[in-house]
Symmetry: C2
Subunit: 401 residues, 2 copies
């Protein structure tokens, strides 16, 4: 058989990590703090039924939902993005600058098509979202990590690494970051936009958790501080509407948007129309505010229970983040316990049966960093299971000390 292209080998490691990370999460006998999926209670099943039922009886909308659509996305949905998701956050934009993507991740893929040549450097947070790394490696980028602290990406380290590595792109998840749940401070948001402009680097802002904030103060996106067009905002409807719909969007300046549209055309022509129509109607009919309120209340409660239980059941010396939003927290456990090894026991021991995501896979360094860390999702777990799962997991960790 013909040889695979070089990119397939380069992405093999992160692809394997993803298969391992998210593969075994679906065993119904396991309490899973693993996957980052929204709660099933947060999926607007009945509203989708109602909307489809209505739009398919309206000739124009019904046909539009099933016929070929425009490459940049449904005009109504691009308007929704501007009116409901950008303007309220202080980002002024025109619907023409927005391209609808098949999920937020496709935005990363398209931006790589636009900019990345093999060997180009992309700076990423340490730790960072492994599925984006998989994309960057498919494009044969060289990922280099930038330090994080409780205020997100450390901008002094970022500037030093921009000067040292001359990257094409900086990838940052500013709000309730995946996997740490940390949020980039206001000052650093300004600074990162400015560094992109000053050093002629694309800042790829991936902000899917931003709208699930249930405590603390809302912060404007990095994009709102961008004066030169170097910041590109890639976002997703997965956490606020439905992940299975695979809807996301990219906001960029017109010269970039035009190229994104070319790359999108050569990826899959356009994003599926039925989900676009349903999502646009969901916002236009005014369902979002109440849906959003209920969703945040649910997640706030689960976060509170999770934090309380970690503090109660995990051994002394455990460090954890306190996320003001999003779906997970990040814990560092004491005693140098390897969380990758521990996961095998946690999922297979009949007295435990708890899953989480081991921390190591989120670090591109590959030198054992994060081997005592775990990402712990609470978004999709009931209160009872949060209590039961943390108690069992805490006991297992304790038994190793």
């Amino acid at each position: 058989m013909p040889e695979f292209a070089g990119r397939m080998a380069q992405m093999a490691k992160s692809a394997a990590i993803i298969r391992n990370l998210f593969g075994a999460m679906n065993d119904p006998g396991i309490i899973s703090f693993g996957g980052g999926a929204p709660a099933k209670e947060a999926l607007p099943v009945e509203l989708v039924r109602e909307i489809v039922n209505d739009v398919m009886t309206r000739e124009k909308r019904g046909i539009e939902s099933l016929q070929y659509g425009p490459v940049p996305g449904l005009a109504d949905l691009r308007e929704v993005v501007v009116e409901h998701l950008l303007t309220p956050k202080g980002v002024s934009a025109n619907p023409d600058e927005v391209v609808i993507t098949t999920g937020g991740l496709e935005g990363m893929n398209l931006l790589c098509q636009l900019y990345i040549e093999p060997g180009d450097v992309i700076l990423v947070e340490s730790p960072t979202f492994v599925q984006s790394v998989e994309i960057f490696e498919m494009f044969q980028a060289r990922c280099v990590s930038v330090a994080m602290d409780d205020d997100g990406m450390v901008t002094d380290d970022l500037e030093a690494k921009i000067l040292k590595y001359r990257p094409k792109m900086v990838y940052v998840i500013p709000t309730f970051q995946n996997p740490t749940g940390r949020t980039l401070s206001l000052e650093r948001r300004k600074k990162i936009a400015q560094l992109g402009s000053e050093h002629d680097v694309i800042i790829l802002e991936d902000d899917p958790y931003r709208d699930i904030r249930y405590s603390g103060t809302d912060l404007p996106p990095i994009k709102s501080f961008d004066e030169t067009g170097h910041t590109v905002l890639a976002n997703s409807f997965s956490k606020i509407f439905s992940p299975g719909s695979r809807l996301g969007y990219v906001l960029a300046k017109p010269e970039i948007t035009a190229k994104i549209i070319d790359a999108k055309s050569a990826t899959n022509s356009h994003t599926s129309m039925l989900p676009q129509v349903v999502c646009a109607e969901f916002f236009k009919r005014g369902h979002y505010p109440e849906h959003h309120r209920a969703m945040c209340e649910l997640y706030r409660h689960r976060r509170d229970v999770m934090i309380e239980c970690i503090d109660k059941f995990f051994p002394e010396g455990t460090k954890r983040t306190f996320p003001d939003g999003g779906l997970f927290t990040w814990a560092e456990i004491p005693g140098g316990i390897n969380t990758t090894d521990l996961l095998v026991e946690a999922t297979s021991n009949p007295d435990v049966k708890v899953a989480y995501v081991a921390g190591e896979g989120f670090f591109i360094e590959g030198n054992g960093m994060g081997s005592d860390c775990m990402r712990i999702s609470f978004g999709g777990v009931t209160e009872d299971n949060i209590r039961l799962g943390t108690e069992r997991l805490g006991k297992l960790i304790g038994s190793k000390l």
Copy 2:
């Protein structure tokens, strides 16, 4: 601003062709033989309403339609592909060898991710589908054309060019080819599968029109003659269910499928779930046979009217294909008239107001080949408009002779 990657320049020409080809097709005052979209009467609007209305009241299905799904696609839809679309065509396959894609074109994108390094040669038909060329050029492949005749790709020329160019891939649309409507003969199907195996070349079989056959004898896919796994079948639900749903599939041997799944994960995680659920239910509930019958009857009638009208209204010396299926025919007009120039007049002259797709854009040679040709779609045009449009267009052509 940072420079765009080299691939963006390489794809710029075909991207511009696509924007021009399909851009101005939506003027409601124009009779358009341009776009290749299915007839609106062939879109199962009411069935989709009925199915969504039902599945969203079933808890498991409702949540599944909106939640994250498996990278290779919904298990039910992969089964549908095998049972309803492969087995009846003589292709034996296992659902595990099928990956669901976001439309048929995404299959081409993913296969390029797997195999194409910059400079690799892809052999294509002359003429061929320009949107696939756009994808190949985004991957910086060098496209080389292979001659066609009424029986499709000429296999002697193919073999000579395999030996000369040592391509990574051969791209072929075997049935009711886009843009010519021609069908590859049985003998050549066997021969192409065999050439792939013998010369260690991937045969990328793109067969979206196959199931819209309304005359002549059904032919097995190239894939059915593949003994080594060198043929990869990429197909689409666009013409048999709904193009806006962006559903397609790739069938390949397991070692290739595993890599397609990695590339799919790094493209957009998975294809939108709601369309997958609806399409699977559409087949599983037994709606396809009647839908298919009605659709073929509609298109057969329109084909017959179109052929009759071209023969009646176009000037003597016009050559045209007689497609046994699909949505368009291909005409070569006499007198050396340039169809690209003619299109400007055909769409703007108030006495004509007819659109088609000029032939030149489908030829990668770029040396004026096809400048007297046009692709004429009838699938989405009413009988009255076919008569009116061909009469006006025939008169315009006649006036140039």
